[in-house]
Symmetry: C2
């Protein structure tokens, strides 16, 4: 019997671990597939024999196999057994998964904001903090100045004065570039999607942090890329594991958020950044850096973007203006290595020809007239207070069995629940009590996570923040 199970000697299942046994088994088989101990076409042991070998209930093996099949790692051929999938079937655009990734942001918070509902799920600024007066003023200014031209075809690369404003904006963040390396896009999601289409072929490997932003996972999968996720540690990505995987796979791209990572809120330490950049250079990987919310670093002054360290032109930097204004703005930019500019431009053209001319022209004035800088200062002030308050309330509401990932800033907390509580069930329970939170599971490309939730406080009044954490705290108490 030992012979048949040689490949599985590393499997260790622990009953008092946080994750159910079948989840542990599922995650460990995935590790074996990724590390190529189990090759495509390999036939998994029968349920009966495997459960005997592992001394567990056959139902546990059945459940693990089912999950492996659902996520495309395993193909079941009726009576003849379960086989590790060929690479190709792993790459299939799994629309079901894409959809699951999407739902997180798709549900407008507006719909969830009614009545007693407390929306701690969505991350977006509260519409009340936006100065509509200023926006109106600048729209009128643009329309009076440019008249019908406001709506002419813009250059696909973006309205040149805006690209020049962006260059000035980047200079203040220690990134020196020129307008020809700026590509205006309709939001960060479009930026990720365009980069994916310009760079990746069906079957290419992409690395991400784990957990990570689900919209990015969806874009990678839609291109047929294979996503390998590398765990996050409190000071940034796990560089040991990263190197291990870099040796095995040859990813074309790694997608990272080095400052206030979504969903963990972690910022990379200087040491981690340096080591990370070294590895990328050594293994020659292109970096997609999503500057998510760096303006909201409250505890430490944020480091410059990786793009500022990009000596050998491997960083594609995405910055959304929508996130620090309002998501419906749909405006962002890419700062790209020169050799990619033309390719990216073509895909932008195919995608939607150009971004709204009105939005671009108005936003150019925002930057040019210093309105943006004032706006950010205003937002920082408000959300610093909101953040401090929320952290205090969370500390008070939760026992020390609940771990609030030591947050550096941002609009949400990443929280590890006590062992006994499963995240998915807890989220449903919270919903029944009118509090919406995000389940950690949605942020993992492949692995199942039953420990984490993300709690946002960005759309709420202080009263609601307090009420929300109070309800969640009580629910946890009840279940202990």
């Amino acid at each position: 019997m030992t012979n048949e199970f040689n490949q599985f000697v590393s499997i260790q299942l622990t009953k008092n671990e946080k994750n159910a046994l079948y989840v542990q088994l599922y995650n460990q088989i995935i590790e074996l597939i990724h590390s190529r101990v189990l090759a495509p076409g390999y036939r998994l042991p029968s349920v009966r024999k495997f459960s005997q070998y592992l001394s567990i209930n056959p139902g546990t093996v059945v459940n693990a196999y089912k999950e492996l099949e659902k996520s495309g790692y395993v193909i079941s051929h009726g009576g003849s057994g379960s086989y590790i999938a060929e690479k190709t079937s792993l790459m299939e655009l799994d629309m079901g998964t894409v959809m699951a990734d999407c739902t997180l942001l798709e549900e407008g918070w507006e719909n969830k904001q009614n009545g007693d509902m407390i929306n701690m799920r969505s991350i977006a600024l509260n519409p009340d903090v936006i100065s509509i007066k200023k926006f109106k003023e600048l729209v009128i200014k643009v329309l009076d100045r440019d008249k019908g031209k406001t709506f002419s075809y813009e250059e696909s690369q973006g309205f040149l004065p805006l690209r020049e404003s962006v260059v000035t904006y980047l200079k203040e963040r220690h990134v020196s570039t020129s307008a020809k390396n700026i590509q205006v896009i309709s939001g960060a999601q479009q930026g990720i999607d365009i980069v994916v289409r310009a760079l990746l072929n069906h079957g290419d490997y992409v690395f991400t942090e784990s957990p990570t932003y689900p919209g990015a996972i969806a874009a990678f999968r839609s291109a047929g890329a294979k996503v390998i996720d590398i765990p996050m540690e409190p000071d940034g990505i796990d560089v040991i594991k990263l190197e291990k995987y870099l040796q095995r796979f040859r990813p074309k791209l790694i997608y990272v958020m080095p400052i206030l990572q979504n969903p963990t809120g972690i910022s990379y330490s200087i040491e981690k950044r340096n080591r990370f950049m070294e590895l990328m250079r050594y293994y020659d990987v292109c970096i997609l850096e999503d500057d998510y919310l760096s303006e909201l670093s409250f505890r430490t002054s944020p480091l410059a973007p990786l793009k500022a360290l990009d000596r050998d032109d491997r960083v594609i930097y995405i910055k959304s203006f929508s996130k620090m204004f309002m998501p419906g703005l749909r405006l962002a930019f890419l700062c790209i290595p020169e050799y990619l500019a033309e390719r990216i431009l073509k895909i932008k053209y195919i995608t939607d020809i150009s971004t709204s001319g009105l939005t671009q022209r108005v936003f150019d004035l925002y930057l040019r007239e210093g309105v943006w800088q004032e706006h950010i200062a205003h937002i920082r002030k408000i959300y610093k207070a909101q953040f401090d308050f929320a952290y205090q309330v969370a500390q008070h509401a939760f026992s020390d069995k609940v771990i609030v990932q030591n947050p550096q800033g941002g609009l949400s907390f990443w929280i590890r629940l006590p062992q006994k509580i499963l995240a998915k069930e807890f989220c449903l329970q919270a919903e029944k009590n009118h509090v919406y939170i995000a389940c950690g599971d949605d942020f993992y490309p492949r692995h199942i996570d039953q420990s984490h939730i993300r709690i946002s406080f960005s759309l709420l009044s202080l009263q609601q923040v307090e009420a929300g954490f109070h309800i969640l705290g009580e629910l946890i108490q009840e279940r202990m």
Copy 2:
């Protein structure tokens, strides 16, 4: 020798034809590939033998082979000869070609409008005909009404009130649908791209009219689809040839513009429409109908869209609002069969999450308050006069050797040059004389066309229209 050339008996080259001999040879070899007389892997005859067999200059064969290689039909293995490409290499995303397709619209007309330049290349409304006053009024109305919410995340499917307004708008055009089958998009190009990504797999066949819109070709190619173009006749697509190809290939999709087709300006006759729909039903093909400029049918009252005849849910209808307003607006919608709605929604989400909320809300008021209908009436009046004038001037400027495709309306003419004049050279010549026109070649996915040009009159004053045609007329005279 006859045996070796069995496959080529159909080849007929005529010296006094419009197209150069190598172009004729190139086009006829492509026909043989499409009709599968020449299979992938087939080795083409050596230049020497083939030129002997055809009684032509070896240089002619060399040139034809080179063109075939450029467009991916043939692969050359150094000394060992030229082979018909495997299907896969035909599908490769050919960024060079995509780029060529794009340049047509990419160059902003603004840049070409300086000084003496007469831009008869771009099709877009003149910015002066847009009422900026009205637009401003409605922007302010929306901002005052919705405040910060104007910029909240919109539903990915689109702002519901706008989708409802679109349903009403469609009812007037004999299309009955509901808001759940409307997908708001950021311009027609995005619509084509999203449909492509939702429906097509690498290697699928797509049919188009020939000539057709280059942005669509670029989107099809970017998905690795193989484009087969079916010739246009004066009353619509060539249904005989269409059926012949339907029997051979199994296209998933056909892309058509049944009213004022771009670039030919042709509208399908009722008989053609009916036969076309019959064929689509019989061969079970999904139709992507791009309603390009139907509002500008001046000679005949336009028929309803094909979508109005869509009894068995196979038509995806794209309507851009940008084209009849200003291209920089980036707003359009898809009317889709219900079974595709979810799939399309997911791709829209991956592409850019949602279309600008401000634009959607303003445009909802345009439709709801009847401003759009007034706008269209205004545009029709102005461009009817422009069209009649341009047609009159063209008749006067060109001899009867120049065939102005009998136009039904729109903003441009599709023109066949006299035999002696090659379109590409003529376009360059015109440019030297400060007149920009579009070369017919750019509108053909595969075939080379040396006969046609497209002349637009949409951005010009009447004086410029007259001057432009005058210059072109003289250039033609000179070359006869």
